[in-house]
Amino acid sequence: MMTDQLTDTALVPAAEAPAGTEPARRPRGLSPRARDRLIGLASPVVLLALWEVLARTGAIDARFFPPPSSIAVAFVRLCRTGELWANLSASLVRLFWGYLLGGIPALLLGLAMGLYRPVRAMIDPLVAATYPVPKSAILPLVLLIFGLGEASKIVMVALGVFYPVLINTTAGVLQIDRIYLDVGKNFGAGRWQTFRTIALPGAAPLIMAGIKLGVGMGLILIAIAEMVGAQDGIGFMIWNAWQLMTVDTMYVGLIVIAVLGFGFSVALDEIERRIVPWKARG
């Protein structure tokens, strides 16, 4: 008992010390979430400023690490010519269809796997065997089967989002307390009603986690897929910039992907707050 108390009192100031010495002055009276967001915004700004200074002073090689200001100039140029938007919209369309084509079957199959043992017994080994294969390694095969057109890119994104959503949905349904399924049965919920009122909402927190993972995976794969045999898209833009040695453009492409990923994650957090309002949040 004594040692417990001792460690407790010793831990409290130790744990609070780093927060006090935070470089981005901790504003008083902000909610923890607002504070987290502020810190999240401040850290890249600080990093960019540092980069600019180092590139301008020649501390780092500006050929490989052009200063952010020149990347910004390239960004404006690409916007003006419409090049950026053409590539971005091409990627977004592919991502959209890929997420839909991969995510929805994964969601339905995952719910079925979670609810029905035989379905799980049938699909589980297939998932276990194919999941570890790196999706990028399948690209040549996908190109062979689906050709160099839109289909191969969409399939790559779909593959990326399929597995995390499937695996998380199954796990999400399996972790639902059995008592809720008994309640459904007792109150006369049919198969579809059980899906809709118990399996889907009960698994929703894990499904959302799977979707977040899948969306990130889709971004990785779209970039890779567009580098090979595409005539547009952000991946193509980056690859083309490498061939033309326009490093600024390359960075613009990378930043666009980063911003896309960040935007998706913010949007998904917001969606999660709306569809899982019942989780107690700290």
Binding site: D177, I179, Y180, D182, V183, G184, K185, N186, F187, G188, A189, G190, Q193, T197, I198, P201, G202, A204, V276, P277, W278, K279, A280
Partner: protein
Amino acid sequence: MASPASVAPTPKIRIAGLGKRFATREGEFVALDRIALDIPRGSFCTIVGPSGCGKTTLLRILAGLEHASAGAAVIAADNPGKPVNAVVFQGDSIFPWMTVWNNAAYGLAMRGAPKAHIREVVGHYLDRTGLRPFADRYPHQLSGGMKQRVAIARAFATDPEVLLMDEPFSALDEQNRTLLQEELLRIWDEDKKTVVFITHSVDEAVTLGDQIIVMTAHPGRIKAIVEVPFARPRGVLALRKDPEYGALVFRIWSHLRDEVDRARRQETV
């Protein structure tokens, strides 16, 4: 349709030769053995027994959530339009992802009841349980007692032929338990549904029941059936002053004590 005269004497629930066995690693486990029991219409029947006596299994068989290994349990359906039973489960059974209102409306919604009917009935039971102001809350914002009130409202709202309650108050503290017992009796007095109420508390069995089934463990059998003489409506606290109450609790305890002792001896072997 049978005439009321021929319907009245038949029991609401008839359990005959009911047995349940589970295969376990140590061999066969007899959870229920030759249970025979008639529960009259409109009776509040409490089942009390040591843990492991199969009382929850019995309730789950009545609820249709498990199958009997032998014999049968039949609930007489007087009105084919009504659900045969509704269960108030032990522990947290209301959906965390639904508001209080939607939880209470669940059974009716699953049966495709008209919206106006759902609004009226759910409103009524939320009023009766004092939950109306919390209709839009989610369960994580409720206390344990309030959650069980939602489960009770959900079961009553479907207007089942038989209400099955599996230790619904066992996780509550003493004060809350007394309050909920009183509320339950008040709601039950409205239309005196046939109730099977499982409990491990002798006090609760005596307070609520018309008929107390005392069960034994390993194998689960009926040891005694005790009629409770107290008039309705009952006041949970007033009842405790009645000397008859103490005598009845004592009688049931002496039935149970042999059983608890026996179960303990078996555990230590």
